[in-house]
């Protein structure tokens, strides 16, 4: 099976659509853990944090804007989904898609 490589910074800030094609937010973080397989200890991504910045979504591509917006609009409309890796379709890294509808996606605390 061909293994493809993608750069982390190409994923961060990307808009994510759900199964119905609706835009649900932007990738904020990739969480990884060590997995012991075939004797090798690799870090593998367990789930993607996707943040919804509401009206400010268009400018929330950069890390700084995301943090600033999170701090200011914590009360209004900011929402974050924690999407398991196997629910994410990265066949086209430029247009990541969640394989479930927005309502089914687990929300961060």
């Amino acid at each position: 099976m061909s293994a493809r490589t993608v750069a982390l910074s190409d994923l961060l800030g990307r808009a994510v659509r759900d199964a119905d094609g609706r835009k649900i937010g932007r990738i904020e973080e990739l969480n990884a853990e060590i997995s012991l397989e075939q004797g090798r200890s690799d870090y593998v991504v367990t789930h993607f944090s996707v943040g919804r910045f509401g009206p400010l979504d268009v400018i929330a591509t950069g890390n700084f804007v995301q943090q600033l917006v999170r701090r200011i609009t914590r009360a209004t409309g900011y929402r974050r989904y924690e999407i398991p890796w196997d629910w994410m379709d990265l066949s086209d890294p430029a247009r990541p898609r969640a394989l479930r509808r927005e309502e089914e996606l687990p929300r961060a605390s």
């Binding site: 961060l12 950069g62 890390n63 700084f64 943090q67 600033l68 701090r71």
Partner: protein, 405 residues
């Protein structure tokens, strides 16, 4: 005991670092044209700087990383380029004016034109950075910076009218020449709230190996140091207000400013002015060149420390070498130092938002500062300073055109 020795030295450092070519020139111009009236701008500038320095010092002491490190780590390389380029360009302009200040001081003392002194100044400065460690650079120049107290002596000798000066510490609107008033206010703020000062201060906290125990030392150093610095800047404003304003003298060339001390203190006044200009500008040249090199090294992850031999941090050492020599060229070809100073002060004021606004995010980051995050007073102060920095950015260019040189 050792900690309080650090405090004393820290306070002294801030005096040396505070009064430099920018504050001497802008306070002299402000005093000459508006008497005491701009004193409140110095109070505003000094307090803002003290607050920003306390925060970047606390950030470094608690998180054990400098403000430049965190600008890159927390916001990513793409965002980091903004403060990197802004502070690099602005600080280089200021270093050029500082070398101009040193060269003018040597011209006043020897009569040899300032252009001939630019490259020798850069070479001596480079030698001190190359061979000296952080303590020598920081405290050596600061100790000598104490000659700046001559401004306070000069001001007292001129018997300022205290009630009027007291009232001038509160904001007031100009009666004439509004554009010029606000232009001078912006350049005074640019001279006092300089990004390289709090970037250097946070890197200095790491060089001095500060930890959480040093938070008290940090508050006193940032606070007291800047009070002294502010008082001396106000003193230089007062001397210009009492010597120049009544005679209608405007400051168009550095050479004129020496008269503000020669008038009250005679020949000693002239000598002390020359020494003050020389030492504070020379100290600031080293400090700012180091601040830029720290910003580059910390942002790109190179090895860096003034306490390491240059061979161990080759890119850091090469950076300050190239910077200090490069910065001496505009003065060597004869550009007017006062014009360069005025431009660099306004550019500094305009560059503030990119280094003040990110601080508001970092200072509330629990991962970094756990219990030492900002309380609501610090956050309120930071928001006010951030708004002020945006106003300065918007006002800088129009005021330079309307009220400029």
């Amino acid at each position: 005991m050792k900690k309080w020795a650090e405090v004393a030295l820290g306070v002294v450092t801030s005096i040396g670092g505070f009064l430099e070519v920018g504050s001497i020139a802008t306070s002299a111009q402000g005093g000459a044209e508006f008497g005491y009236q701009l004193a409140w701008v110095l109070v505003l500038g000094t307090t803002s700087l003290a607050i920003l320095m306390e925060m970047t010092g606390r950030l470094a002491a608690v998180s054990q990383r400098s403000y430049a490190d965190l600008l890159r780590e927390r916001f990513g390389y793409r965002f980091f380029l903004l403060p990197l380029v802004a502070v690099f360009v602005v600080s280089l302009l200021v270093v050029i004016s500082e070398i101009g200040g040193v060269s003018i001081a040597l011209q006043l003392a020897t009569g040899i034109d300032f252009r001939w002194w630019a490259i020798p100044t850069a070479l001596v400065g480079w030698f001190l950075l190359w061979r000296g460690n952080f303590t020598i650079v920081e405290q050596g120049t600061a100790m000598l910076g104490l000659v700046a107290i001559s401004f306070a002596v000069g001001a007292l000798k001129l018997h300022p009218v205290w009630p009027t000066l007291g009232r001038a510490l509160l904001p007031s609107l100009p009666s004439h020449d509004r554009a010029r008033y606000w232009y001078l206010a912006v350049s005074i703020l640019g001279a006092s709230i300089s990004p390289y000062l709090y970037l250097f201060y946070s890197a200095g906290a790491l060089e001095d190996e500060w930890t959480i125990e040093h938070l008290g030392v940090n508050r006193v150093t940032a606070g007291m140091g800047n009070v002294f610095g502010g008082v001396l800047a106000i003193a230089s404003l007062v001397t210009a207000a009492l010597v120049f304003a009544p005679r209608g003298i405007k400051v168009d060339r550095y050479e004129q400013i020496a008269l503000v001390l020669a008038t009250p203190l005679g020949r000693a006044g002239l000598v002390f002015f020359i020494m003050t200009l020389f030492v504070t500008c020379f100290g600031s040249t080293l400090e700012i060149v180091l601040a830029i090199a720290y910003l580059l090294a910390q942002g790109l992850g190179w090895n860096w420390s003034e306490n390491l031999k240059p061979g161990k941090d080759a890119r850091f050492a090469t950076s300050y070498t190239v910077l200090i020599l490069l910065a001496s060229l505009p003065i060597a070809i004869g550009m007017d130092p006062l014009t360069l100073t005025n431009i660099s002060m306004v550019a500094t004021a305009a560059s503030l938002p990119v280094t003040v606004i990110p601080l508001s995010v970092l200072m509330n980051d629990g991962d970094l500062l756990n219990t030492h995050v900002n309380g609501w007073p610090s956050n309120l102060a930071l928001v006010v300073i951030a708004l002020l920095s945006v106003v300065l950015l918007v006002a800088a260019i129009p005021l330079q055109l309307l009220g400029g040189g």
